[in-house]
């Protein structure tokens, strides 16, 4: 059995990073001190608050069956079989 992880890394890397950029670029991160009073007043600070991209990495799941390693990332399924 030969499994090469390089293709997985390459594909996952090109999948993860653009997704992250797309998510973060829509919410530019300013220091809190540079926000206006209104913006500060609108920040949710209690328990329902979650980081802006949470939900991506928790969905990272790995499974190997036979000769295949499947990397599932945020709904995308990437497989390498040898």
């Amino acid at each position: 059995m030969r499994i090469s992880l390089l293709p997985i890394l390459a594909v996952a890397g090109t999948t993860v990073l653009p997704a992250c950029v797309a998510i973060t670029s829509s919410q530019p991160q300013l220091p809190l001190i540079d926000l206006t009073l209104e913006q500060l007043s609108s920040i949710v600070v209690t328990s329902l608050q979650r980081p802006r991209v949470q939900g991506v990495l928790p969905q990272l799941a790995l499974a190997a069956r036979g000769n295949a390693v499947h990397l599932s990332l945020a709904g995308a399924r990437i497989a390498s079989e040898h």
Binding site: V16, L37, I43, V45, L62
Partner: protein
């Protein structure tokens, strides 16, 4: 790693897979994915620190409150070193009206001395009342975060409204403390009390 991986991959492959996942984490770090989740308490503290900094810019003090044009704003934080440290970090290198800001972490038993802003954290209103009684001197913007903060004599009182940090204002307390708040600040306040509470 799952049992699937252990059964399907030899040890060297498992190590490689581990390295691959670590590399993914490293790649993701600049985008905030690998950062620890800030706790709610930390976020609330950071937002309040930012508000405290902002309040200085929306408050008018008598000229006598400053020795000269370079006299810094002095902000005292009573009995909460973590908040004082957060505020110090927040205002580091910042100026308000061309004045730097100095943050003092005060002990409860310590006389606050000359301050421009006094923040008394904590939800114990009896403690707030006691500290306020001891602190009354000069033109100082007093900010609290206990339920009846304004009734105890505070000028601005933080509260959590719909999961957000908001603040109420007492104009009577502002007059009493010889500070004037800008109308801009009043428009953002949750509630503005004009008369006695």
């Amino acid at each position: 790693m799952s049992k699937y991986i252990e059964q399907a991959l030899p040890a060297n492959r498992r190590r490689l897979l581990g390295c691959a996942l670590a590399a993914l984490g490293t790649l993701a770090a600049p985008f905030g994915l690998a950062n620890p989740v800030p706790s709610d308490v930390n976020l609330e503290r950071s937002v309040k620190a930012a508000f405290l900094y902002k309040f200085l810019g929306y408050t008018e003090y008598p000229a006598a409150s400053f020795g000269d044009a370079s006299t810094p704003f002095i902000v005292g934080v009573v009995g909460a070193d973590d908040m004082a440290a957060e505020l110090s970090r927040t205002v580091s290198g910042r100026y308000v009206n061309n004045r730097p800001i100095v943050v003092k972490a005060l002990r409860e038993s310590e006389a606050p001395g000359a301050l421009h802003l006094l923040f008394i954290p904590g939800d114990d209103c009896a403690r707030v009342a006691r500290l306020l009684k001891a602190a009354r001197q000069g033109a100082v913007l007093v900010v609290t975060e206990c339920e009846d903060g304004l009734q105890q004599g505070s000028v601005i009182n933080f509260k959590i409204v719909e999961q957000r940090v908001r603040f109420d204002i007492s104009l009577e307390a502002a007059d009493r403390n010889n500070v004037k708040l800008s109308s801009r600040l009043l428009t953002v306040a949750n509630q503005v009390h004009k008369g006695p509470l």
